[in-house]
């Protein structure tokens, strides 16, 4: 067992040995995770990790130890250090985040089991024990090489997508949009004269559409991108082509700019209205974390700027 861990440690060539001496001593057991209360029905929790800030080789090795064999294999199946690291951090973030909520007294990220629904969306597989009624915890993760994020709600289906603001498509934006987006969205992009702004609008639209499909949880082929329009004039709403007159009121969106460098799109199943069909804003708590090392509440700071949708940050 230990020799395997050594091998997997050594496979991480990005673990620069010089950091071993400078970083904290993680050869002992990891400190406990800071427990957190489950979000209320109206709240959304956003947790994120910046891979570039996680440099400690022993720490990364400890993260690897949290994963079951199948997930370790999955991580090591990625080509290259950077991809393996962000894959590892994605699994670590999901496990440690859910563990913090201490469902049924559990605080061990190792003990969590996951499964996929019939459409392939990952879910927690809670232990079936007498008298234990698992909370309707919903989560979704997204990652790029430079950011790993996890959104958590109680009861509300959630989809999140993150992307670097400066992400460039290889294809021409309008050609891509004509092929994959709806006519309204093409029109919206076409109307933007500045190519830099057009690129950013494209990325915003992409992340919002991804977040919607991920929230639905039925796979991309059940909701091809050209079958629904994201309208983001005043507020953000989704309109499906098969019922164009009804803006699909079941879903609400938030679009955030994180650390000035990333867009984060969140799509939530609408739980309650404020009476007379009025939408209540999304109550968002955002935390930056390096699991077992530090947690920082960043909502309400300029690290998390709401740029679309109705959001109250706590």
């Amino acid at each position: 067992m230990l020799s395997f861990l050594r091998r997997s440690y050594l496979n991480f060539s990005f673990m620069n040995p010089q950091y071993c001496c400078l970083s904290r001593n993680f050869s002992a057991a990891l400190p406990p995770l800071l427990p957190v209360q489950l979000p209320s029905r109206m709240e959304t929790h956003l947790w994120y990790v910046v891979p570039d800030e996680v440099k400690s080789a022993p720490l990364l090795s400890k993260y690897m130890e949290l994963l079951p064999q199948s997930e370790r294999d999955h991580v090591l199946g990625f080509r290259g250090d950077q991809l393996q690291k962000s894959a590892l951090l994605a699994r670590t973030l999901v496990r440690t985040t859910i563990a913090r909520y201490q469902v049924d007294g559990h605080l061990d990220p190792r003990s969590l089991r996951f499964k996929r629904n019939i459409h392939g969306k990952p879910e927690v597989e809670w232990e079936t024990k007498d008298g234990f009624c698992p909370p309707p915890l919903q989560f979704n993760i997204s990652h790029t090489s430079s950011l790993v994020a996890c959104g958590v709600t109680i009861n509300s289906l959630i989809g999140i997508d993150v992307e670097e603001k400066r992400r460039r498509t290889k294809n021409n934006i309008l050609a891509f949009a004509k092929r994959y987006f709806t006519a309204h969205e093409v029109e919206h992009l076409n109307a933007i004269p500045d190519s830099e702004l057009q690129q950013q609008e494209f990325i915003k639209l992409w992340t919002l559409k991804e977040a919607y499909v991920k929230a639905l949880g039925k796979g991309f082929s059940s909701s091809p991108f050209n079958t629904f329009t994201i309208r983001a004039s005043s507020g953000i709403a989704v309109e499906t082509l098969d019922s164009p007159q009804n803006l699909t009121n079941n879903w609400q969106f938030a679009l955030l700019e994180l650390m000035g460098s990333h867009y984060v799109a969140i799509c939530l199943e609408r739980q309650e209205t404020g009476g007379a069909g009025k939408t209540l804003p999304i109550k968002l708590t955002a935390r930056k974390t390096i699991p077992f090392v530090e947690d920082e509440l960043v909502s309400g700071t300029n690290a998390v700027v709401t740029i679309g949708g109705s959001v109250t940050q706590f």
Binding site: F78, F176, E210, F220
Partner: protein, 137 residues
Amino acid sequence: MASITRASVSMPSLSTSVNQSQRRISGMNSVSFPVSGRSMIPSLRLQRGLQVCCACQAKQETVDKVVAIVKKQLALPADAAVNGESKFAALGADSLDTVEIVMGLEEEFDITVEEESAQSITTVQEAADMIEKLVEK
């Protein structure tokens, strides 16, 4: 690279046809090119263990083109080891990359890939196989 069981052998009378536009393959009446590549044209079977199939040669060319498109999309170095078994996700393709790769394949091979098909391709070989099926139509 072709494995020993699927060695490509250049057959002058057939290779010219194969090297032409992929679409021509389906139009060749005299020789059948099975889609799966597993069954063979008996006359081309050289010896036991060494199977020669012209559909394999077309497949290798298709695979090579897919590899080129993938490398370009993911900005991989030209000498990066990418072959039929390579998974897009493992190479670092996120969903936007995958859609761009599919778009690149559509342009390269003049085909249209429906979302259902696009979602199911996870490796270079699967993409090449899908292209072959679509090109045959």
